[in-house]
């Protein structure tokens, strides 16, 4: 699968954004297996871009295509299999079910299209240091813990593209690197592409392509 972005610009952005940006208003093709780093200062439209790529919002000009499929023309019924089988995401605002336990949050995602066994899930949580939190309600976990749950949740399905929106904003360096390592392994196992958007350059992400938004 390849991801094509053509002349993309949020409808609420000035045309002048296309002059400075390496993404807005450009023609870009991302292939499976590429590690893409997007450096995006506040207000440059980082979360908008991730939302557009995931089909959450359609208030943009231009086109986003997964292979030949235009995201703009996909109805909710068609978006479901794309999200279940091909594109996974870690939101900046995490989006967990606050009243479910960590284990329940993970299982709700895992059962949709299981890539890992429940035992493997447990192993992943232990690796990121939240193994003991499995039976805690998500809302009682710290932001850092919730962020790690959101990361693991994104790794439980098959995907060709993994969209990461400030995935380590609540984590210290050690935990961030730990998580990055897991993400890289999982992406490699699927020969998938990672699209990581963050405020500044993250040194421990071995990107193959770099864009300034």
């Amino acid at each position: 699968m390849q991801l094509t972005i053509s002349n993309l610009l949020p409808v609420y952005f000035e045309k002048s954004h296309t002059q400075t940006s390496e993404v807005w208003g450009k023609e870009i093709v991302w292939q499976k297996g590429e590690l893409i780093k997007i450096v995006a200062p506040s207000g440059s439209g980082k979360s908008s871009l991730i939302n557009f790529l995931y089909g959450m919002r359609k208030d943009f000009d231009g086109a986003i295509r997964y292979d030949q499929q235009d995201v703009r023309n996909m109805n909710p019924e068609q978006l479901a299999p794309l999200r279940k089988d091909h594109v996974s995401i870690v939101f900046q605002d995490l989006r967990l079910f606050p009243h479910q336990t960590v284990a329940e949050n993970l299982e709700i995602k895992r059962q949709l299209n299981p890539f890992h066994s429940p035992e493997k899930v447990l192993e992943m949580t232990e690796r990121l240091g939240i193994g003991t939190k499995m039976n805690s309600l998500a809302k009682t976990c710290s932001y850092g813990e919730q962020q790690r749950v959101a990361i693991i949740r994104a790794l439980l399905q098959p995907f060709d593209f993994l969209l990461l929106d400030e995935p380590f904003s609540h984590l210290d360096d050690r935990n961030s690197q730990n998580a990055m390592q897991l993400i890289l392994e999982e992406a490699k196992a699927r020969n998938a592409s990672i699209v990581l958007a963050d405020l500044e350059r993250i040194e421990f992400f071995p990107y193959t392509r770099l864009f300034h938004l």
């Binding site: 909710p76 999200r83 279940k84 079910f97 479910q100 709700i108 059962q111 949709l112």
Partner: protein
């Protein structure tokens, strides 16, 4: 591996506003109960009054005679209906059809033969088949046939059973009477012929001894005086026996109307009207309950909006989700309708046993139409429920 709804279910806040939920369940139950009971009672009445029904095809059938007064006594032409008078009757807009009750024009004797020591002079009449309330297929005759089917007035039969003991005759049941062949002796023009008569039905409408029309025409020709036979009674078929125009016309002509025979038909109409009204009321209650339930459902989905949206974001398909959300309520619908059905069955049993004393025309098990209605209600509520959830979820997605 199929996706399980079990981890999803707790995300729906169904526990909220339990009172509204229970009200809608109870409302649905009461509405369905009313509807099913009305349908069953409607059918009961239909079955009970099937035999005694005077109204046939939605028409009233009533007999008209001329009033015999001191002035007209002894002048048969004044007490009989002429062809012109029949035509006049037929021409009235409130009268659909007219059939004169033609009598025999010769002497008829009836004897029970060797079965009973009973013999009497009697009369025979005939009426168009369309006017007879209980018309069995065996009510036909062909020339040369010695068996004559008879339709006897229920009233006459009752009178026989009243006077029989005093005459030393046995009282007999309808079934027995229908099994006994009687001898009908026709005399006239120097001829005597004996036919075998057999009661094939009893009529509540016509107070007479009816034989097939072609038999009476033939016998009047064979044994009669040859004069044109005129009827003293006429049956009219009308949409409404209580039509004021009809009553005015009858009064004006100084005719006499036998109206009490239409009462049963009228009562049946009124009772069926009441139960139709009750059924419609029940249907309204069902609709109201379903509306209340849809409000509850909207509330549940509104309260669970964040969770449902997140599920769609994670890749759950809207159709899978709506199917499964709707499915939560299916057992509720089934339980409610089955409970109402059980109550209806209880009602039917009590009605049959305590009110109708196990009469044979009715059955204790519910009529299939009632059962079918229950099934249709279940299917209908499941479909509307599913559609509602789907449309609510679709709205959620586009928000």
């Amino acid at each position: 591996m199929a996706v399980s709804f079990k981890p999803i279910q707790p995300l729906l806040q169904t526990g909220t506003n339990a009172a509204s939920r229970w009200f809608s369940y109870i409302g649905l139950g009461v509405g369905v109960l009313l509807l099913l009971c009305s349908i069953q009672m409607f059918i009961n009445i239909q079955q009970l009054l099937k035999e005694g029904s005077i109204r046939k095809n939605g028409f009233d059938y009533i007999s008209i005679t001329k009033s015999v007064t001191n002035e007209t006594m002894g002048q048969p032409e004044k007490n009989l209906f002429s062809q012109a008078e029949l035509d006049e009757l037929k021409a009235q807009p409130f009268i659909e059809d007219v059939s004169p009750l033609l009598p025999n024009d010769f002497r008829v004797k009836l004897s029970a033969g060797s079965v009973l020591a009973f013999s009497t002079d009697m009369f025979l009449e005939t009426l168009d088949n369309d006017f007879i309330d209980t018309l069995p297929p065996s009510f036909t005759w062909q020339e040369g046939q010695y068996n004559i089917p008879i339709i006897l007035s229920s009233d006459f039969f009752e009178i026989y059973n009243v006077f029989a003991p005093g005459q030393g005759l046995p009282q007999i049941s309808r079934e027995t009477a229908m099994g006994i062949p009687v001898q009908i002796i026709c005399e006239g023009n120097g001829l005597t012929e004996t036919f075998t008569g057999k009661i094939v039905a009893f009529s509540d409408r016509v107070n007479s001894v009816l034989v097939p029309k072609n038999f009476l025409l033939w016998s009047n020709k064979t044994f009669g005086k040859g004069a044109n036979v005129q009827a003293s009674r006429v049956f009219v078929k009308t949409k409404d026996a209580n039509n004021t125009e009809l009553l005015k016309f009858v009064d004006q002509k100084n005719y006499k109307l036998n109206k009490d025979k239409t009462l049963l038909g009228r009562n049946k109409m009124v009772i069926q009207g009441i139960f139709s009204g009750l059924g419609i009321f029940g249907l309204l209650v069902v609709l109201l309950a379903l509306m209340l339930f849809s409000f509850y459902l909207q509330l549940v989905i509104a309260r669970s909006k964040d969770s449902l949206q997140l599920l769609l974001t994670l890749g759950y398909s809207p159709s899978w989700l709506s199917r499964n959300v709707a499915r939560i309520f299916v057992p509720v619908y089934i339980v409610v309708v089955i409970a109402a059905l059980a109550f209806t069955q209880l009602m039917q049993w009590s009605f049959h046993h305590f009110v109708m004393y196990d009469r044979e025309e009715l059955s204790t098990p519910l009529h299939w139409v009632t059962l079918l209605t229950a099934v249709v209600l279940i299917v209908l509520s499941i479909i509307t429920n599913h559609r509602l959830v789907r449309s609510l979820l679709n709205k959620l997605h586009t928000n």
